[in-house]
Each structure stands twice: as structure tokens, then as C-alpha cells.
């Protein structure tokens, strides 16, 4: 009978972690639906990026208010989780504050956790105020309605509740309050509980807070996959595998290079039968669906936490165009999720007559981009919405000849006379004598 709590806890632990593992497997499978791209070069620079940008939050603090508040939440989140180790051991073996034998050091640890928990509470409340009272525009764009909006709020409420439970759990532990000094925050709560509740109730509250706290952590862990909050894990690989080149360098499509070289080779026999395997389908240029994108672009989509810094700096979006780089990432993720669910249901992907282009992202959005790289510059975790926009443009132009009419004229001019306007190449030096 005494073991019932331990068994309940073990079940909670196994279910909580097991479910999380299943979701992570699903996540990696979905990301691998993307095309291969080699990002194994220059590990030194990659580690450095990860250390500076993900671990060191260097791009977050470029907007100081949100940045500093985020650093508080992020650092505290990592540090306070050390406490989870103790909770798990206590839960499994029925001990109480197993690490308290550490004496003074334990008190310093828990004391700092309490201070951090309090700071997180404050920071998260400020986040909520920024979102709901100050109504910072980037949180109220049109892609931020319904689920994305609720998702963001859920996470804030979650954090508020978890931090409160941690403090309550300490405040209602009379032994901890009496013999330890690791209670810089909870000591102010203890008298409130003592005033209103009997000793027995206080004990029940402590037990309740303890269980709710750890259950909450497991729920939060499993909420990640369904929320925008995966960045707490994916920010690390995402910054590691991010593009290392200068932002102006767009990739040259290799499949095109082969064809162009063949065309320009004076020795190539135009009537020769292609040497390739007959069954090989010719490579598709650009992207019309998420499976045409590479896995880094798909990881980008899962990493996006919808902060909207990209969109708030996008010249097209600022001037009221349909394009929002954040929406590009959100739609990409929605489509991978849809494909993932399709695979879960049917064993393999069954054509659903849908694709990223058209059903999610419209040509209007894609054509509004100035390729200015502001979104790429802004992203605190090095997501690149521009690369997806470019891949869709390539599909529209190379596979569908569906560029806006004026762009077709521009390209015809380049083809015919080597300039985007209708001027003869022979007149290129006329300026000299004008």
C-alpha cells in the first residue's frame, strides 16, 4: 500500500517520457521528408554559431526588452530543471528532498531556484502584458489569430502555473521552512498558508503542489510538439546547421548547371539520346511542396516560435502586402504536419491533392518579396524564410512559366539583348559620348 505513490509516479514518468520520445521520432521523420543538403562543413564555425546564437542568445538581445526578459526565462528554465532530478528520485523512491544532505549547498541551490522562479514569473507576466495589454503589433498580425494566439498564451499560463507550484510546494513544506535557508521567496508565502489552513491541509497542499508541478512538467514536455515552442530544443541544431555563407549568396541549382554546360558545349551532340536511365524522372526545379524543400528548411519551420521579428522588419509586410515571412514558416510547418499525419494514417503518403504552393502559400505572397534579407537578419535562431520564397519562385518560373507578365518581359529582354530593358547591347557604351 505504501508503494502506490511510487508506482503511480513510475507510470507517470514512463508515459511522460515515452510519449515525448514518440513525438520526437515523428518530428525527425517529418524533417527527413526534406531533400538532402550537406551542412557538415566547417564544424568550428557551426559550433560557434550555436554557442553564440542559441546558447548565448546574441541575436535575441538585439531587441533589448524582449531579449533580456527572454534570457531570464531561458536561463532560469534550464537551471530550475536541475530540481526535476531531485523530484524524480523522490518520486521513484519515496524519499523527501533527497539532496538536502548537501546541507548549505542545497539551500543555496534551492534558494537560487526560488529567486529565478520568481523572476520568471515576473518576466512571463510582462510577456503577457506586452501581448495582451500593450498589444505589440507583431503579436496581432493576421496569422496570429485562433490557435497561434492561444498557443502563445497557453505557454505563458503554463510557465506561470509551474513557477507558482514550485514556490507553493516550498512554502507549504514546514520542515524545509524551519531547517533551511533556501527559501528567500517562499518564506513570504508560508505565513499566508499558515493563516488560512490547518497543518493537515498544508501538508495536502504541499503534496498536491508537488504532484501538479511534476505532472505539469511532463504535460509541458509533451505539449512542445503540438505547439510553437519546439524552439527550446530545435534552436540548437537549427543554429548549428544554418547557412554559413554571406546572406547575398543564393545557391546555384546544380541540375541547371549541368544543362547549361551541355547547351554551351560546342562538341555536344544535340541529337544524342540521353545516357540516363529511362526510368529516372527529370529533376524538378524549385519547390511546390514541402518535400521539394531541404531538411534544413523543414527544421526551420519546426523551430519557428512565431515571434514575428521577421515580419515586423519585412518591407513588403510593413507596407501592407500579403507577404509575411513568419506566415511562410508557419504554413510550411502546417503542410509538413499534414503530410506527417497522412503518413501516420495510411502507412505511406497518399496523394491528397494538395501542396504548399496554392493551398498554403499563394504566388502573391511569393512575388511581393524584395529578397532584402531583413527577415533572415532578424531571426534570433537563424531561420531563413527567404530561401523558401526563392525555391517557390523557381518552381513558378522554371516549371510553370508563371512569373508576373512584367517579369517575363524583363527576362525576355535579358535573353534577347542582355539587359532587363529593351536596349541594344550595341548601345552599351553610348553613355561615354552623351
Amino acid at each position: 500500500m505504501n508503494y502506490i505513490n511510487n508506482i503511480l509516479f513510475a507510470i507517470l514518468l514512463v508515459v511522460g517520457i515515452g510519449f515525448f520520445v514518440i513525438n520526437i521520432k515523428k518530428l525527425t521523420r517529418n524533417i527527413k521528408l526534406g531533400k538532402d543538403i550537406d551542412r557538415s562543413d566547417n564544424p568550428k564555425a557551426r559550433w560557434k554559431n550555436m554557442a553564440m546564437i542559441a546558447l548565448g542568445q546574441s541575436k535575441m538581445v538585439k531587441r533589448p526588452i524582449a531579449g533580456i526578459l527572454h534570457v531570464i526565462v531561458y536561463a532560469s528554465f534550464i537551471i530550475i530543471n536541475i530540481e526535476v532530478v531531485e523530484i524524480i528520485i523522490d518520486g521513484l523512491f519515496g524519499t523527501h528532498r533527497i539532496f538536502s544532505f548537501l546541507g548549505g549547498f542545497y539551500d543555496v541551490l534551492i534558494g537560487s531556484f526560488e529567486i529565478l522562479a520568481f523572476l520568471v514569473l515576473i518576466a512571463v507576466i510582462i510577456f503577457w502584458i506586452r501581448r495582451m495589454i500593450v498589444r505589440i503589433p507583431r503579436f496581432w498580425s493576421k496569422e496570429m489569430t485562433s490557435w497561434p494566439k492561444n498557443d502563445a498564451l497557453n505557454i505563458l499560463y503554463f510557465e506561470m502555473v509551474l513557477m507558482s507550484l514550485f514556490l507553493i510546494m516550498n512554502a507549504t513544506d514546514p520542515e524545509f521552512q524551519t531547517f533551511h535557508f533556501g527559501n528567500p521567496i517562499s518564506r513570504f508565502l508560508t505565513p499566508i498558508f499558515n493563516d488560512f489552513f490547518s497543518e493537515h491541509s498544508i501538508h495536502l497542499i504541499e503534496q498536491g503542489a508537488w504532484w501538479l508541478h511534476i505532472t505539469g512538467i511532463f504535460i509541458f514536455l509533451n505539449y512542445l510538439y503540438y505547439s510553437k515552442h519546439l524552439h527550446i530544443l530545435l534552436a540548437f541544431p537549427n543554429t548549428y546547421y544554418a547557412n554559413l555563407n554571406v546572406k547575398g549568396k543564393f545557391d546555384n541549382l546544380e541540375a541547371v548547371t549541368k544543362e547549361v554546360k551541355l547547351m554551351m558545349d560546342p562538341n555536344a551532340d544535340p541529337f544524342a539520346t540521353p545516357a540516363e536511365d529511362e526510368n529516372e524522372t527529370p529533376e524538378k526545379f524549385g519547390a511546390s511542396d514541402v518535400t521539394d524543400l531541404n531538411w534544413v528548411q523543414l527544421m526551420n519551420a519546426y523551430t519557428c516560435t512565431e515571434c514575428g521579428r521577421c515580419t515586423s522588419s519585412c518591407p513588403a509586410n510593413i507596407t501592407g502586402k500579403e507577404l509575411s515571412p513568419r506566415a511562410i514558416m508557419m504554413k510550411t510547418r502546417d503542410r509538413i504536419e499534414e503530410i506527417g499525419k497522412n503518413i501516420d494514417k495510411n502507412g505511406a503518403f497518399k496523394d491528397d491533392g494538395k501542396q504548399l504552393l496554392g493551398d498554403y502559400i499563394t504566388p502573391e505572397e511569393v512575388w511581393a518579396c524584395t529578397s532584402c534579407n531583413a527577415c533572415v537578419e532578424e531571426c534570433p535562431v537563424n531561420i531563413n524564410p527567404l530561401s523558401i520564397i526563392m525555391d517557390i519562385r523557381r518552381y513558378l518560373v522554371l516549371e510553370q512559366s508563371a512569373a508576373p507578365q512584367e517579369l517575363n518581359m524583363m527576362m525576355t529582354n535579358i535573353e534577347n539583348n542582355g539587359a532587363p530593358w529593351q536596349y541594344s547591347q550595341m548601345d552599351r557604351l553610348n553613355w561615354k559620348d552623351e
Binding site: 543564393f250 510593413i318 511581393a368 524584395t370 532584402c372 523557381r394 524583363m410 532587363p420
Partner: protein, 259 residues
């Protein structure tokens, strides 16, 4: 104005120090041609041994690539690379950040490896080497704000060269709120120059011009022929064309030297 071509140079058995890539805007756009001439005048004054390709020059393919036409881009690139490598070009300078970016970043993989300079970088190096001196007197007391071209700034992390040159003019460099890495696009990049904008509530160049106007400048300086067009249009729309000039850095320097 002395503007030798690569073909003429080759006929004389000479190899110039640097190729000046004029670009389509610099060759054909009436406003941009003035920038081209200003830059050539400075090159002449500094006795830079340069040449242009003239009628052998063709579009780098940048607007085609940004529009998604990788095929046309690579056709242009390989044709240009054949010409450039034929003349054994080692060093290229251009006044267009789009040509600059394409040469510098996208040509090497296709076989075109050159040292590539934006004209502001090149002018800065002439200055540093003592080959060019700038008398600032003419712009004394003038407020100049610099609009960062996306393909020079964010795309290639070049923010200081143009600013260093402006500072040499004894003028007051005033920064817009959105500048350097946070600079707002003029609206022309990504092939937007060649099409109408999508439906919205404002033109991007108007938004950017407002940024510039807030600094109360006498001159808006740019380093890109397309930005120049966009900002000039913005100034006209704001009815300020009699008060504020939009000038390329090369024009500022040529003016300072009465070239």
C-alpha cells in the same frame, strides 16, 4: 573622359589593373549613367588603369535569378564568365551592388573567380593608398544620410566603406533609425524594380523615404542605381525635390572635386 575598352587594351597588348563593370542600369538608365560618368571621372583623376567591356558586357543575370529563373541566370553567368576569363580579368569594380553580389558570391562556383569590389570599397582603398584625395569644403555643414543598399549591407556586410567616404567630405553624417543591418529596403530588390508592387497600403520607397526625411537631410546618399531611382521617386512624391538631392557616393566625391 577616357574610357578604354578591354578589346582596345588587348589589341595594344595591355592588361588593365581593374575591369569597371558598368552594369545595365549604369549603361542605359539616364540617372544611373551620371553615376557611371562620375565614377569614371574619379578613376581618370586617380590615374587608375581600368577598362570596360563596352558592347561585350551583358546582364549578370541577377534580376533573372532573384525572379526565380535560374536557367537564364546561369546562361548569362557562363557567357559572361567566358568573356571575362577570355580577357584574363582578375579584378572587377562595379557601382551596382546587385552585379557586385552576383560576381562575388554566385559566379565562383560557375568558374568565375575574381576579386570583386563595390565602387565605395574601391574608392576607399584609393583614398587609403593615397591615390585619391578628397577636399571636403563643398559639403561643409551639409547633412547627409546614407541609405544602405540591401545587397551591399545585409547581403555582404559592407557598411563602413560608404560611410567612411561621406565622413571625408566634412559633412555631417546623420543615420536613419533603420540603418546598417536594420536598414529598410528601398523596394527595388528581388526583381521588384521590373514589376508593379503587389496590393498593399503603401509603396516601400515612400516608407523608406520617410525614414530619410526624418533625419532632415540636405542629401540622401546611396550606393546603388536602383536605390537611387527609388529614393528619387520618393523625394518627388514628398514634393521635396527642390530641397533634397539623392546622390550616389561617386557623385558626391566627383562633385567635391569639381570633376
Amino acid at each position: 573622359m577616357n574610357v578604354p575598352t578591354m578589346a582596345e587594351m588587348m589589341a595594344q597588348g595591355k592588361q588593365p589593373e581593374v575591369l569597371f563593370w558598368v552594369g545595365c542600369a549604369g549603361s542605359f538608365d539616364d540617372r544611373a549613367k551620371k553615376i557611371t560618368k562620375a565614377f569614371v571621372k574619379i578613376l581618370n583623376k586617380a590615374n587608375v588603369d581600368f577598362a570596360v567591356l563596352g558592347t561585350e558586357e551583358s546582364c549578370t543575370g541577377d534580376p533573372a535569378k532573384r525572379a526565380g529563373n535560374e536557367f537564364l541566370f546561369q546562361m548569362q553567368a557562363m557567357t559572361n564568365i567566358e568573356v571575362l576569363n577570355g580577357y584574363e580579368v582578375k579584378k572587377i569594380v562595379t557601382a551596382c551592388p546587385h552585379c557586385f553580389n552576383t560576381f562575388k558570391n554566385e559566379y565562383p562556383e560557375l568558374g568565375g573567380k575574381y576579386q570583386v569590389y563595390h565602387h565605395t570599397e574601391f574608392l576607399k582603398s584609393l583614398l587609403d593608398e593615397g591615390r585619391l584625395t578628397i577636399e571636403g569644403g563643398k559639403f561643409k555643414g551639409k547633412k547627409i544620410t546614407f541609405h544602405d543598399p540591401c545587397y551591399l549591407g545585409r547581403a555582404n556586410d559592407i557598411y563602413e566603406a560608404p560611410r567612411d567616404l561621406i565622413k571625408k567630405l566634412d559633412s555631417e553624417l546623420v543615420e536613419m533609425k533603420r540603418s546598417r543591418a536594420k536598414g529598410l529596403c528601398c523596394g527595388a530588390g528581388g526583381a521588384q524594380m521590373f514589376k508593379d508592387a503587389e496590393k498593399g497600403n503603401k509603396d516601400i520607397n515612400i516608407e523608406r523615404t520617410e525614414d530619410a526625411l526624418k533625419t532632415n537631410p540636405n542629401i540622401i546618399a546611396t550606393g546603388c542605381p536602383f536605390c537611387n531611382t527609388m529614393m528619387t521617386d520618393g523625394i518627388k512624391a514628398a514634393d521635396k525635390e527642390n530641397e533634397i538631392e539623392v546622390l550616389d557616393i561617386a557623385e558626391l566625391i566627383a562633385n567635391a572635386e569639381d570633376l
